[in-house]
Amino acid sequence: MEKLLEEFSLGLFFWQTILFTLLLWLLWKFAWKPILKAVNDREEGIKNALEAAEEAKKEMQNVTADSEKLLKEARAEREVMLKEAREIKEKMITDAKEQAQIEGDKMIKQAQATIESEKKAAVADIKEQVANLSIDIAEKVIKEELSDKKKQLKLVDDMLGDVKLN
């Protein structure tokens, strides 16, 4: 103990305390603070980057899921649209058919009516012509008949005889 105390130099103790405190202060200010800050920042940066990567991965998964969902939806929609289109087509065909039927029927009826009326007109015409012809014939016959007196009288008699019959 005595030896230790003898070895103890107050001057050296003084310088050590002063210089070490100064060194501590200088290093604190110019070295440890920026070093620890830089290391901390770097670690934070790495942590953040990892987190961001994780998030990006999740987002990526979300996007994939979303696009898959969209695709599915689109597919379903297409299916629906196709189905609708088919239905419309069928409906249109049926409608057209019905329309055509109705129209055809109408046309047929009209045609029939026209034919009927034409027929009637034709019949009437024929009747008229027949009547005219008959009159002409009758005229000619009458003229021939009436060329002599005897025959005229006979005709009158015949006719009167017909009336009587009526």
């Binding site: 103990m1 005595e2 030896k3 230790l4 070895e7 103890f8 130099s9 107050l10 001057g11 050296l12 103790f13 003084f14 310088w15 050590q16 305390t17 210089l19 070490f20 405190t21 100064l22 060194l23 501590l24 200088l26 290093l27 604190w28 110019f30 070295a31 440890w32 603070k33 920026p34 070093i35 620890l36 830089a38 290391v39 920042d41 770097r42 940066g45």
Partner: protein, 397 residues
């Protein structure tokens, strides 16, 4: 005697190990205190015995050489030799001597001529005797007491000694090294360059494996600058001690005392309420007050003694380890000259080499232990109740 030093070093190592464990087992501290006092007693006893021998045989010369090397010095001596005609030739450079003796006196240490002449400043005469400056008369008379200690007046010596120079050199080295590391982060986008790549993992190790687990996530940040500074300061100075320049800064009791006092002050000035409660009321609410009284008569003084013993163990451990390392290396190198044979000298060379390698490890280990234990004490000081049991659990493993 040389080997008894080494044995003591081993004792101290054992003490070191037990110390960590006993940090929480306060009652055990009393025993280590006794052991420590006994050890130190032997230490001084052994040294005194050696000092009594007179006569300049080779062994004494080697012993004096080692003793001289361990001490601080007023010049920066690189090496010296003796000419055939008996003249001593010293190679190195002188350092400023600063004395406070009724006013400031500053002169170059070259005035002492390595203790061979008196230095005269402002009409006062000073003599360098065994590395210390004494005020003498014009003839340089030194008076002795019965134990052969000089009784002359010793002026307050604030000289820039070799150790102070080494502290400044280490400080500048650290400033340059770590401020350039700090700048390289800014320049290189957060990635260190050059030597920074070597030092950054050490900085991170101190943060993640010393500060964080011992002090706790909440409060470790404010202790980081001190822990980093003290670690690199001790490590670099320990490593300088391994060079052939003959530097022994961390093996100087004044240096380790200053470091330990800083740890002590920081520990107690940053202590939380819980920490002080633990000092004065270690059992807490586990006993009624009348049950505590007989226990506390013993326990509280032990707790308070522990406050002093903690930094004291720090300072002795670092001092003794570095001092012993230098003694062992010096002795083994000295053995080469004592053996002077084809078998003995290479053997002691090999041994010195092996111990040197161990010393390089010890240099790092002592810096680590000092930092680690400082962090542990800071951890005690910043304990809060929910943390207390965690610490105890950690230590009991």
């Amino acid at each position: 005697m040389l080997f008894s030093f080494y044995k003591k070093d081993l004792h101290l190592h054992r003490f070191l190990k037990t110390d960590i464990l006993s940090a929480m087992r306060k009652t055990f501290l009393k025993h280590t205190w006794v052991v420590l006092v006994v050890l130190l007693g032997q230490f001084s006893f052994a040294k005194d015995n050696g000092g009594q021998e007179e006569g300049k045989d080779l062994k004494t010369e080697i012993k004096e050489y080692i003793d001289h090397h361990l001490q601080d010095s007023h010049d920066f001596n690189l090496f010296s030799y003796t000419k055939d005609n008996g003249d001593h030739v010293y190679v190195g450079f002188p350092l400023p001597v600063i004395l406070w003796d009724d006013g400031l006196k500053i002169f170059s240490s070259s005035k002492f001529h390595h203790g061979e002449t008196l230095a005269e400043a402002d009409g006062q005469h000073y003599k360098l005797y065994h590395g210390k400056i004494y005020k003498t008369d014009a003839e340089g008379t030194i008076a002795y007491d019965e134990e052969h200690h000089p009784t002359n007046v010793r002026p307050f010596d604030l000289s820039i000694t070799k150790n102070v120079v080494m502290i400044i050199v280490t400080g500048l080295l650290m400033l340059w090294l770590f401020s350039s590391l700090a700048r390289s982060y800014a320049k290189n986008n957060g990635i260190p360059t050059g030597v920074g790549r070597f030092f950054e993992p050490i900085v991170l190790y101190i943060r993640d494996d010393i500060a964080r687990p011992n002090i706790g996530e909440k409060r470790y940040k404010k202790y980081m600058p001190f822990l980093l500074t003290i670690f690199f300061f001790i490590w670099f100075l320990n490593m300088f001690g391994m060079t052939p320049l003959g530097i022994n800064v961390t093996g100087n009791i004044a240096i380790t005392t200053a470091l330990a006092i800083l740890t002590f002050l920081i520990t107690n000035f940053t202590g939380t309420k819980d920490y002080w409660m633990h000092q004065f009321n270690p059992l807490g609410d586990s006993l009624p007050w009348y049950g505590k009284i007989p226990l506390y008569i013993i326990l509280v003084p032990i707790e308070l003694l522990g406050l002093i013993i903690k930094p004291f163990s720090l300072l002795i451990r670092l001092y003794a380890n570095m001092q012993a390392g230098h003694i062992v290396i010096g002795s083994l190198i000295g053995l080469m000259f004592i053996f002077k044979s084809w078998i003995g000298s290479p053997m002691s060379f090999g041994l010195a080499f092996a111990i040197m390698l161990i010393e390089v490890l010890v240099a790092l280990l002592q810096a680590y232990i000092f930092t680690m234990l400082s962090a542990l004490y800071f951890g005690f000081a910043s304990e809060e109740h929910e943390h207390e049991h965690e610490h105890e659990a950690e230590l009991s493993h």
